[in-house]
Structures are given as structure tokens and as C-alpha cells.
Amino acid sequence: MSANYTEFHPRWYRPRMSVFWWVGRRSYLIFVLRELTSVFVAWSVVFLLLLVHAVGQGGTEYRRFVDLSGNPWMLALNAVTLVFVVFHAITWFNLAPQAMVVRLRGKRVPRSRIAGAHYAGWALLSALAAWLIVG
């Protein structure tokens, strides 16, 4: 579209977005943290694969992996990872009802039920995993 009729056309002011645009606002900060959680989710998958590999290699390799996991640095990293993964799960479950439109007998299922079903599934799978490990 030509804007030549505008006397001062080339002098529109174009504000630039700061690199730190996400710092000043809580919702933006939470969004960037949620994006960051993907790194920790990826690390938790790598850690699980390393564990499976060590188990597959037999006793000595497994013991070496357990010793490595007990290292304070590794414990600290995994504690931070746990916090981020839980944050990821909670924000994901809270967003899910906005994306899902579920109908039962022609009526739209309320958002709270959809979020509740996600949390219930999470609790059930966590209980199953705990039972497998502890039981």
C-alpha cells in the first residue's frame, strides 16, 4: 500500500523491542520460563536413557551410573530439573482446557473437568510408578 500521500510518511516511529522484553511483566516471564523448561525436560529424557543404557550394560556400569547420580552436582542439577519439569506439567495441564473442546451428549465439558482429568491421570501414573519402584 502506498503511503506517499502522508507528508511525513518515512518518519513513522518504529519502537524496537528490547532483548529483555520478557522481564518487566509477570505473564511474559512465566511464558519464557515455560519455554525454558523444555531444556530440562530434554535433560530428564537423556538422564533416563543413560539409566536404561547403564542397566543394560550390567552391574559395574550400573554402579558407576549410581555413583555419578549421587554426585552433589548431579543431585543439584536433577533437583532443579524436577522443579522445572513439575512447572512444565502444571502450566501444560492448566493450558490444556483452553485448547480442548470436549462434548459429552452434546454438552461442552467444563474447563475445570478437563484440567481435573489431566491432574487425575498424572496422579494415577505417578502412583503406578511409585508402586513399581517401592512396592
Binding site: M1, A3, T6, E7, F8, R11, W12, Y13, R14, P15, M17, W21, W22, R25, S27, Y28, F31, E35, L95, Q98, A99, M100, V101, G106
Partner: protein, 247 residues
Amino acid sequence: MVDHIILQVTRYRPERELAPTTQEYEIPVHEEWAVLDGLNHVKDQLDGTLSYRWSCRMGICGSCGMTVNGEPRLTCATFLADYRPGPIRIEPLRNFPVIRDLVVEIGDFMRKLPQVKPWLIRDEGAAAPDGELLQTPAEMNEYKQYSMCINCMLCYSACPIVGLEKDFLGPAAIALAQRYNLDSRDEGAGERMEVLSTAEGVWGCTFVGECTTACPKGVDPAGAIQRYKLTAAAESLRSFLLPWRSS
């Protein structure tokens, strides 16, 4: 006695300055006055050179969107009394070039909007309907929420992706595409998918969710976009598994 409040208004006069400045005006606060009434008081009584857009004063025309104390708001629906004792900072909408003072250039949105074909599309080959295309209240409720959009562009101002990715279609355009996709009389969902299911369409959205927070009409563009992501993903999967059935 009438209260007074300070408005800190962004000024940009391209004929005499390279970047915006701030000018303060002291105005009376009446309980029923919206921020727009305050700006009209400035324009009428204090400084006739101040430029801003407005029309209906009742949240229908979508012209008077500005950034009020850092939040994208319709100034006709934002009341001065709620900001006492002030001051109130009034800036142009973010993520748009500024033409003058509080007036932004909206050509980018106006070019993006028709790309999603926000009108009823009917199959050209099919016979014309015999009479009206009837619709039940339940069918209308499918899209009614998205039809409430007044193109005020507050969602574009609230969305950081709009600011970072200049080709992103943006919240309102996608919500309006859904308004027609979900209309029982429409047959254009396939055509719209070519525009919507792209990196500049729904996949550009990272679900910050601020568009929905900013929307003065309860449209929930973020929900519309995420719903469409599910639709587009299901369609991709269907065309992969059942290529002979894909649309």
C-alpha cells in the same frame, strides 16, 4: 470539589522530533469519565494539537485502543477514577509503527486480515441453497464468541510474537478465521488451512496467552489458536495415514 489527575501522554510530532516524548496534562476526574473523556478534555480545552483515534465511545468501533499504564486498553472502557491518585501513563498501542502522538499505523493488520478469508465461503460447484441457510442456536453458539471481535488490535499489542515475528498472522486474524471455520454455513476451512497451518499462522503462536487477557470482548484468541492447532495436527495425521481421504 472535583479531583484532578495527571495524564502523562506520549507525543510524537514527526515534523519536529525524531522520537516520542511525554507531555503532562492535569485534568478533572469525574466518576463517569473514561480515559477517552480525559483525552477529549485535553483536546477541547488544553491542547488541540494532540492526536488520537476514537469514534463510538461504547466499546464497539475498536478505534480507541491505547496503552494505559502499560496495559493495552480501550480508552472508552477504562475509567479515570480507577487510577486515582494517578498519574496515568497513556502511550500508543505497542507493536505498531507510530504515525503521530497516539495514532498507530495499522496497515500490517489490514493486509493480514483478508489472507484468512474472513467471510462465508460456499462450494462454487454446488447448487445454490433453496432459500435461507438455516442455523440452529447450538450451531450459532459454535462460533458466536469469535464473532464478537471488533478489530481493536489490543491482542496484537499484547502479543510479544507479533512484535518479534513480523510475518505472524496474529491473534485476531486467526480467531476470525475460526469464526468462519466453525460456522455451519461455511465450506472454506480447507482454503483457510493453507494459510493457517503454517509457521506464520497458528504454529507461530507459542501460547503466551496475553491476547486473551487483553481482549475487551471475551473472544479468547489464544483458545481459538490452540483449538486450531489440534484441528491442523489431526488433519496432517489423517492425510498421512489416509492419503486418499485427505481434503
